[in-house]
């Protein structure tokens, strides 16, 4: 029995797809891996009323973090994020928060309120198409990606080894005082042109909800 040409096409198509997925997936990220070029975005609206594209940023290091207002893990860690942004002020580092959830409390009007209320000192963009989240393979909030000057991913995952969940108005650090500062270390390494000491961790937080594609 021989396979028809259409059958052969589908057979090898599936084999190639599986192989490609296996090759590009990280340990925790099913879409991209450390070392790959980061996906790009264009004209995403921000809480400051403007729109931004990846090509607008010329800093040596970009830190992209997926956020969601409703998520207590985001709220638990936002003070540390703000502090981290302050720590790198004056350095060639840009922080970009992105929201892709479609719950009403995660949409742009609510994002603007949150950014103003908490005093976000970084850009906070929204992608209602969710495409940038899919391209990054982001499945948690918060989930961090550190990109070097060539815009390759050098780190993905947690901020530190002790993520915090907001409880009764105060962050609760699940492993006590943080001892490993993955994002900070990855930024410093990228600025120095060295590889990050830790390149991937499992993000802890709320699952990003993507709409099911019909095609």
């Amino acid at each position: 029995m021989s396979l028809s040409s259409a059958g052969m096409f589908w057979f090898f198509g599936i084999i190639l797809t599986v192989a490609a997925t296996t090759l590009v997936a990280g340990k925790y990220n099913p879409v991209i891996d450390v070392g790959m070029h980061a996906p790009s975005f264009s004209n995403l609206p921000a809480t400051d009323g403007r729109s931004y594209s990846m090509s607008d940023f010329h800093e040596d290091v970009l830190v992209v973090v997926f956020l969601a207002n409703h998520c207590p893990w985001v709220r638990g860690g936002e003070r540390d994020l703000i502090e981290l942004v302050n720590d790198f002020r004056g350095k060639s580092v840009r922080f970009i928060g992105i929201g892709v959830n479609l719950r009403p409390e995660d949409l742009l009007p609510a994002m603007k309120d949150r950014a103003a209320k908490i005093g976000y000192n970084f850009l906070y963009l929204h992608d209602p198409s969710q495409e940038i989240g899919r391209k990054f393979g982001a499945t948690h909030t918060p989930e961090y990606f550190v990109l070097n000057k060539e815009r390759r991913i050098v780190y993905t995952g947690l901020l530190t080894n002790s993520p915090a969940v907001m409880e009764a108005g105060a962050p609760r650090y699940v492993n006590g005082e943080a001892k490993q500062f993955y994002v900070r270390d990855a930024i410093l390494a990228a600025l120095a042109g060295r590889p990050a000491p830790v390149t991937e961790t499992r993000a802890q937080g709320c699952t990003v909800e993507y709409t099911r594609r019909t095609t």
Partner: protein
């Protein structure tokens, strides 16, 4: 004297029940028990011969809370067909408020199946259970094999409640 012992014993049992957070709905009881991973593995092995549905959830997980009533509904539909349901909370055991919130939640949901809360460090709970994020539903067949792991780990193919329904119906149909 014997009557005094009886009354004391009954009062003590009632007290224990309240401490454990028991509540009865009809003939069934709702509890939330702390469980260590190794205990859970033994529990799981003891359920061999049944289809086992394990719903990993937490009070801070909005989609988990929204999906929970459907899991209770599924349990009521399939409980007489050799299907065991387990809710496994991965709330932080150190967070007393969250543990109490989880206990109150399963009571309100009238979840008369096994409700556990992982007695582990929260990060360890995820690692040991092999869960990246929640909601995540594991379905084991009657031979005790993990047949479905329905989760949101792939942004391009996140599992839905329809997937849970389909997987469970498939396993139930197998003889």
């Amino acid at each position: 004297m014997a009557r005094w012992y009886l009354w004391t014993g009954a009062a003590a049992l009632l007290g224990l029940g309240l401490l454990a957070g028991c509540s009865r709905f009809g003939a069934q009881t709702v509890t939330l028990q702390l469980i260590q991973f190794e205990q859970w593995q033994r529990q799981l092995r003891s359920m061999k011969g049944h289809i086992v549905v394990v719903d990993m959830w937490a009070t801070w997980c909005a989609p988990c809370i929204e999906r929970f009533p459907h899991m209770v509904e599924l349990y009521n539909r399939y409980k007489d067909q050799g299907v065991e349901f387990v809710s496994m909370s991965v709330d932080d055991r150190e967070d007393k408020a969250a543990v109490e919130q989880a206990r109150q939640f399963v009571l309100r949901q009238k979840a008369t199946f096994r409700n556990y809360l992982m007695d582990e460090n929260i990060m360890q709970s995820f690692e040991k259970l092999g869960v990246q994020g929640i909601p995540d539903v594991f379905l084991y067949d009657r031979a005790g094999r993990l047949r479905y792991d329905l989760n949101g780990n792939d942004p391009n193919h996140q599992a839905t409640l329809n997937d849970v329904d389909y997987a469970l119906a498939t396993l139930v149909a197998e003889k």
